[in-house]
Amino acid sequence: MSDVLAVADHRRGAVRDVSFELVRAGRELADDLGGELHLAVIAGDVDEFADRLSLAGVDAIHTVEAGEEFNHDLYAGATVALFEELGPTAVLMPNSVNGLDYAPAVANRLDVPLVADAVDLAYDDGLEATREMYGSKVETTLEVSEEPVAVTVRGGEWPAVEETADVPVDAFEYDFDESASGARVQGFQEVGAGDVDIADAEFLVSIGRGIEEEENLELIEELAEVTGATMSSSRPIVDSGWLPKNRQVGQSGKQVTPDVYLAIGISGAVQHVAGMKGAETIIAINTDPNAPIFDIADYGIVGDLFDVVPALIDQFE
C-alpha cells in the first residue's frame, strides 16, 4: 500500500487544467512513497478523456462510464469504490468547485483524514501538507499521523504534465442510478453577459474592497473616463451589487489578458489572481505593503487610493 489515486476534473467535454497538475502532484507523492500513480476518469466521454490524460508518470487510468457530467453522488461513490479496490495510501482530488462538492464525502465515507486546498505535499514517515491561512497571509504545515489520507489540491500550484505516454486503461464497473441521486443537474448557464466584455479590454482599471463605499466608485469611473480604460473589479464589489457580474475578474468571473491591469485597493487573493495573472503589465495601488498583489505586480504604489487616484486623474485632465 504505497500507491496514489488521483481523480481528474472535466466539464462540458473538456479536461480541466487542474487534472494535468494533479498528475504532477500525484506522481511526486507516489515517488516519495515508492508506489504507482492511478488516475480515475469519471463520467462523460471517458475514452477520449483517458486518451487525453495518457501522460508520463501515470501508471494506470481507470475509467468509470456513467452519466455525461459531474454528479457528486457518482463521483463520491465511484472514488470510494476505486479506493477500496486499489488500496492506495492517498487519494488526491482537485480543490475545484466540483472537488468541494464531493471530496469531503469521500473522506467521510472512507473515514480517513482530509487535508483541503494543499499547495505543497511531502512524504517522510507520514504526509506533510502545506496550506495557506488567514487570507494567504501565512503558510502552515500540517502533519497527518494516520494513513490513508484524502487531499484536495489547489489549482495552479504544480506545473502541468504535458508529456504523453502509453498508459494502460481499465474500464472500472460501477453501477450508478442517476435518477436515484438527491441532486440532479438541470443544465448550465453562462453569467455576466452584458454590453462590455472585459476580456477584450486593453487597459483595465480594476477596483477592490479598498474603495470602501459605493459612492466612492465615482472616483474610479472618473479615472476610467479620463484614461479611456475599462472598469472591472474583484469579487466583493460584485457581491455588494455595486458593479454587474460581467465586470468581475477572477476564478468565478472572467479571465482577462489586457496590456495593462491597474489593480486599485485589491489585496490579490488567489481566486482573483487566477483571473488576471495573464495581463502583460500589472500595476498595484494598495495601503498594505504585504498585500499579495505586489508579489505579481510589475509596478507598485504603497499608498492610499484616495490620495493617489485623484492625483492620477490630474495627470490626464
Binding site: 459531474f70 473515514d111 483541503a116 443544465g187 508579489d295
Partner: protein, 263 residues
C-alpha cells in the same frame, strides 16, 4: 420547518503581525462572524420571513468569546443558538471529521429540515465541513450555492452552483439537505438596534461533549499543525515612492509609455 445554520467566529490578522509558535499572536487577531456564514444566516432568515412556522437555529463550535458573534446572528433574526464547547474541545485541534461529529450530534438533537453553512471559513479555508456533515447525517447536499429557490412544499430546492469561469450549474436538490452558501447569494442585512436589543434575551444553549452523547475520542484528530511562517515575498515590482502626486506622475508616465491611455 426548522433551519440549522452553522456559523463560525473567524480570526482576521492585522496588516502587521507576528507569528508566535504555530499561530499568529493573539494580540494581532480580530474576531468576526465568518463572511460566508453571514450570507447563510441571511438566507435562513429570508426563508423564515417567506414561510410560516420556520424556526432558525444557529450552531457554533467556539469558546465563550464567540457568543458576541452568535449574538450578531441572533440580532439579524436567528431565533436561538447553540454553542458547543468544553475543556476537551478546547484542547483539541479540530479537523473536518471532528467538526462533522460535533455538528452531526447537534443535528440529531435538533432534527432540522434544512442545514445552511458558509462555503468556507475565512481563516482556515478548508471548505469541507458542510458536505462532510451532509454525508454523515444522510442528507442530500449542494456546495457553493449562489442562488436558491425553494418549492412551496419545501420538498425541493432549485440552486445554482457557481463554477469557475463565469458558469453556473443549475441543480435540483431534494430536501432535507445541506447547502453551502457562496457570498453574493443575497445582501446580508445589518443588525437593527431593535434586533440587537432583542438578541440579548435570546437563548444560547451550551453543550459539552457529554451533553451530545460524545466523549473526548470524538474530537481526537490525526492532523496537527506543525509550522506557520510568512511566505517569502516574491515581489520584483518597481515601486514609486514619494508624495501622492509624485507617485501619480511616475504611474502616468508608465501608462503613456505602454500606449494604453488615449489622450
Amino acid at each position: 420547518m426548522k433551519i440549522l445554520v452553522t456559523v463560525k467566529e473567524v480570526a482576521e490578522a492585522a496588516d502587521d503581525f507576528e507569528i508566535e509558535g504555530t499561530d499568529i499572536g493573539e494580540q494581532f487577531l480580530e474576531y468576526d462572524l465568518n463572511e460566508w456564514d453571514d450570507y447563510a444566516v441571511e438566507a435562513a432568515v429570508q426563508l423564515s420571513e417567506t414561510y410560516d412556522d420556520v424556526e432558525v437555529v444557529s450552531a457554533t463550535i467556539g469558546p465563550e468569546r464567540s457568543e458576541e458573534t452568535i449574538r450578531m446572528a441572533l440580532a439579524k433574526g436567528v431565533d436561538r443558538a447553540i454553542r458547543v464547547w468544553d475543556d476537551d474541545v478546547a484542547a483539541a485541534d479540530l479537523d473536518v471529521a471532528a467538526k462533522t461529529r460535533l455538528f452531526a450530534a447537534v443535528v440529531e438533537e435538533e432534527e432540522p429540515d434544512l442545514v445552511l453553512s458558509g462555503v468556507q471559513a475565512a481563516d482556515d479555508g478548508f471548505g469541507a465541513t458542510g458536505v462532510s456533515l451532509a454525508d454523515e447525517i444522510g442528507f442530500d447536499w449542494a456546495a457553493v450555492v449562489n442562488h436558491l429557490e425553494t418549492e412551496d412544499d419545501l420538498s425541493l430546492a432549485h440552486v445554482h452552483r457557481e463554477l469557475e469561469g463565469g458558469i453556473e450549474e443549475l441543480t435540483d436538490v431534494d430536501l432535507p439537505a445541506v447547502l453551502t452558501i457562496q457570498t453574493g447569494l443575497n445582501e446580508p442585512r445589518y443588525a437593527s438596534l431593535r434586533g440587537i436589543r432583542q438578541a440579548q434575551s435570546k437563548e444560547i444553549a451550551e453543550f459539552g461533549l457529554a451533553d451530545l452523547g460524545l466523549d473526548a475520542d470524538a474530537v481526537a484528530s490525526p492532523i496537527s499543525r506543525t509550522g506557520m511562517y510568512e511566505p517569502e515575498t516574491e515581489s520584483d515590482a518597481t515601486y514609486f515612492d514619494g508624495a501622492a502626486d509624485e507617485q501619480a506622475a511616475e504611474l502616468a508616465a508608465v501608462l503613456r509609455e505602454k500606449g494604453v491611455v488615449s489622450e
